[in-house]
């Protein structure tokens, strides 16, 4: 597995783009190290803004910069960015339609044993509920880079959440993304829809299921909002079960969105796999995923139970 993290991919992409675009700004809240943005700050000090430990200020200042023509990437831990500065995201970014990409780093349970304050398991629900806010959870470094390049092409607000550690490669540098979702594998019995860290796990779970005679399709729904409902409905046609997997609370995330879509258009059972509505067990992210059944084996077992 590559050791290049998705946050590193964001920095690398911005470093390249900033060579010819002096309006690209990276703003941090004492988070340039954890956001893998140190190199950007060193390379483009005049395009870097340090705000200190003040996430509300980070987002409002970013909006002010954007209102004067800057393309701002506000980079801060997802846990703080999505809650401490939620109102700033609502008012100064979403409502004001400023060209700010809120980059939530070390999302979900990336911080592991640091505990509940550092988990961001509400961010998909929270940010998706803001009018005009787009929400992305890319699954690997290539897709992350592609999303950043896409975001540089327009002036609309977005929230981009990435994990702390490296993610398994699913694509390569030549993969083109355009529709907010990728049908990675077709299947006729069950459809797995995942985002972020859960995509590779679902792909492996599908392989395990195939060995047991269950044909499982997999969709990487890296853009949660707007969700590519068309692709999901097309792939869900004829399957007995739709399964969602996400590193989020059970409320308002990918599972809720897909269940909403399926119930309105092609009613059938939707199994929503997520982290629980409660305190997350202490441990590394991997230990917690294992505990809650969000491994390839756990996902495959849940699918089989739901089908039986």
């Amino acid at each position: 597995m590559s050791n290049i993290t998705n946050r590193q991919a964001i920095c690398d992409t911005l470093l390249e783009a900033a060579k010819t675009d002096k309006d690209i700004i990276v703003a941090c809240s004492d988070s340039r190290g954890s956001g893998s943005m140190t190199k950007f700050f060193e390379t483009y000090p005049k395009q870097s803004v340090e705000i200190g430990i003040a996430e509300q200020d980070l987002v409002s200042v970013s909006a002010g910069l954007a209102s004067c023509g800057k393309k701002v990437f506000a980079v801060s831990p997802a846990c703080f960015l999505s809650t401490r500065s939620y109102e700033q995201a609502k008012v100064d970014v979403a409502y004001a339609e400023t060209n700010v990409t809120l980059v939530g780093i070390s999302g979900g349970i990336s911080y592991g044993a640091l505990g509940m304050t550092h988990h961001s398991l509400q961010d998909i629900a929270a940010l998706s509920a803001l009018p005009g806010m787009r929400v992305y959870l890319p699954s690997d470094r290539f897709q992350t880079a592609a999303v950043v390049k896409e975001l540089l092409k327009d002036t609309k607000p977005a929230y981009l959440r990435v994990s702390r550690g490296a993610s398994e490669d699913i694509y390569d540098e030549n993969t083109a993304f355009s529709d907010g979702a990728v049908l990675l594998k077709e299947g006729k019995d069950v459809l797995l829809v995942a985002c972020g860290e859960m995509v590779s796990r679902c792909l492996h779970a599908a392989e395990l299921l195939e060995k047991e005679g269950i044909s499982a399709g997999v969709i990487d729904a890296y853009c949660l909002k707007p969700l590519n409902g068309e692709l999901i409905l097309k792939a869900a046609k004829g399957v007995k079960l739709v399964v969602t997997a996400e590193e989020h609370s059970p409320y308002g995330g990918l599972g809720s969105m897909v269940a909403q879509l399926i119930s309105a258009n092609d009613p059938k059972k939707v199994l929503e796999l997520s982290l629980p509505d409660g305190h997350i067990v202490t441990g590394t992210a991997e230990e917690a995923f294992n505990y809650y059944g969000l491994t390839k084996e756990g996902i495959a077992a849940s699918v089989k139970r739901a089908l039986s």
Partner: protein
């Protein structure tokens, strides 16, 4: 009475009319802040409807955005839009003149309505000017009650850190907020000392409803280099309408026909 001061009273007259027709509006604060907006828009800032998208225009943010009623009157008077649209549709069904600032209105630079946002957004605008080597200045107007919002102090730190001498904050210090006197609800005083301790240049304006005193303060602010300036403008809430002055009940009030007629008479007497 000089023409600029007369204009302040005419603007008050417009605000009173819009608020009366809407049966809604933050009239007390409108009447305290009107001289500040009048001076900024008509004497200090490099702004006009023709320059609405000029990258070098000065920027203005009404952080106490519930006084949008007053800003609309000032912008309408300056010709950004037909003031009659504001006077007749303010807060009415499907109007674009909602009760808080929004950029759907020509001349409004930033949406507002939640307190404690404007100063930080202004920091971003002033920082962008520095980055781009542009000479425009950014002006933010806050309320003294609003200064209880902690986010203001984050913005104050950042403004000083980046030596934003192109940023000028004004506090419309009228001493009252919706629940009562600011000093009783949550004392935000001493505001001048707070700004100064964060590294700001501070100018106290003893009568923040006096246009000449305000002009002098803003000229002094322009001359200050190396740090942002805070103008602490001591104003009277409800200024210009006898029964509203210093009366907390008029933070947001609905006038009876008789009250409206009395207010109009009092205001018109000042400029006719």
């Amino acid at each position: 009475m000089d023409e600029l001061t007369k204009k302040s009273y005419k603007l008050r007259r417009s605000v009173i009319e819009a608020v009366y027709r809407a049966s809604s509006g933050h009239i007390g604060g409108d009447l305290s802040v009107v001289d500040i907006l009048n001076v900024l828009y008509n004497r200090i800032m490099n702004v006009s409807p023709e320059k609405a998208h000029d990258p070098d225009r000065d920027r203005f943010i009404l952080s106490k955005a519930h006084c949008a009623d007053c800003l609309y009157a000032v912008l309408g008077d300056k010709g950004y839009f037909d003031i009659n649209e504001y006077l007749t549709t303010f807060e009415k069904f499907q109007s674009r003149f909602i009760g808080h600032t929004n950029t759907a209105i020509e001349g409004v630079e930033m949406n507002g309505g939640s307190l404690g946002h404007g100063l930080a957004v202004g920091v971003g605008m002033a920082l962008a000017a520095k980055m781009d080597g542009r000479a425009y200045r950014t002006y933010v107007v806050l309320g003294d009650g609003e200064m209880a919002e902690g986010s203001n102090y984050e913005a104050m730190m950042a403004a000083a850190q980046y030596s934003l001498d192109n940023l000028c904050a004004t506090v419309d210090l009228n001493g009252l907020q919706i629940s009562g006197p600011t000093k009783d609800v949550m004392n935000t005083a001493p505001l001048g000392e707070k700004f100064a301790s964060f590294g700001w240049n501070v100018i106290e304006v003893q009568d923040g409803n006096d246009c000449d005193q305000l002009i002098a303060a803003y000229e002094q602010a322009k001359a200050c280099k190396g740090k942002p300036t805070a103008v602490i403008a001591h104003t009277v809430k409800g200024k210009g309408v006898s029964f509203m002055e210093n009366n907390v009940k008029w933070h947001h009030g609905v006038m009876t026909k008789e009250q409206y007629e009395t207010a109009v008479k009092e205001l018109e007497a000042r400029y006719e």
